[in-house]
Symmetry: C2
Subunit: 150 residues, 2 copies
């Protein structure tokens, strides 16, 4: 399976929770209980989302967290990147890395291609989309991607 870490999974759930009520302040305990994730873990995730600028925090009594931007402006890609760093399937798709495979390096260009397709898919979906009920049918046309490879 093309894994996303559990913490990232939680992050999306938590971000979606805030997106349902974008104006309200949500404190860690409230989020923990309504989302069903242990409090310390929730706190950890909240900190990372705040550092990434996805959430804003209010300190002090009756403090809490809320989305820093409107739900439709926050993409799933951004939440994932906040927890996992830049999106990419392989090491070599990121920097000019130390890929020592004598063979693989012709491949890199095509990896970046795939990565961009995935990134595009994740960026096309916002938190506002996630909290909507799912659509029945899913029209995806990726023919253009394939055309690009010829």
């Amino acid at each position: 399976m093309l894994r996303l870490s559990k913490l990232t999974d939680y992050a999306i759930v938590i971000a979606c929770h805030c997106a349902r009520n974008p104006q309200a302040l949500h404190n860690a305990a409230e989020i923990s209980s309504s989302v069903g994730i242990a409090l310390p873990t929730v706190q950890k995730v909240l900190k990372r989302l705040t550092q990434a600028g996805i959430l804003r925090s209010e300190r002090g009594a009756h403090g809490g967290y809320l989305l820093a931007a409107a739900p439709h402006q926050v993409s799933v890609a951004r939440v994932i990147a906040a927890l996992e760093g830049p999106i990419g399937l392989t090491e070599c798709s990121l920097a000019e890395s130390q890929c020592r495979q004598a063979d693989g390096c012709d491949i890199r260009g095509n990896w970046t291609l795939i990565n961009r397709a995935i990134q595009a898919a994740l960026e096309a979906v916002s938190l506002a989309d996630m909290v909507k009920p799912a659509p029945r049918e899913i029209p995806i046309s990726l023919g253009a991607l394939h055309a690009g490879l010829r």
Copy 2:
């Protein structure tokens, strides 16, 4: 980073190596040296690719491996699935899993949507594509995905 395990990465490199010379038999030692991955690891990956039906093996002296199908018929998605199991970003995108988040479950439908987009991207690329030189420009239109969410 949206991680793919190293073994999966190797698998793609190895599969691409075979795709460059689809008729020839490649034994483990040859692949190891030309690809720059330790022999035992290469053997491990080769076994999995064979079990998945992506490679065919010939036993005995002068045996080796070769692609079971033409390079353009083997998608990157299939190679990944051979090593990692079904493609999906989250647990809950697979089976009717034991997702106990009181909150998250409205989200599932949208996850499957994202997963399908990614799967489509990975299926659109074959080994034949991977061994070609990379195209300069990448026209990807995922507008349809977003449209599907409305």
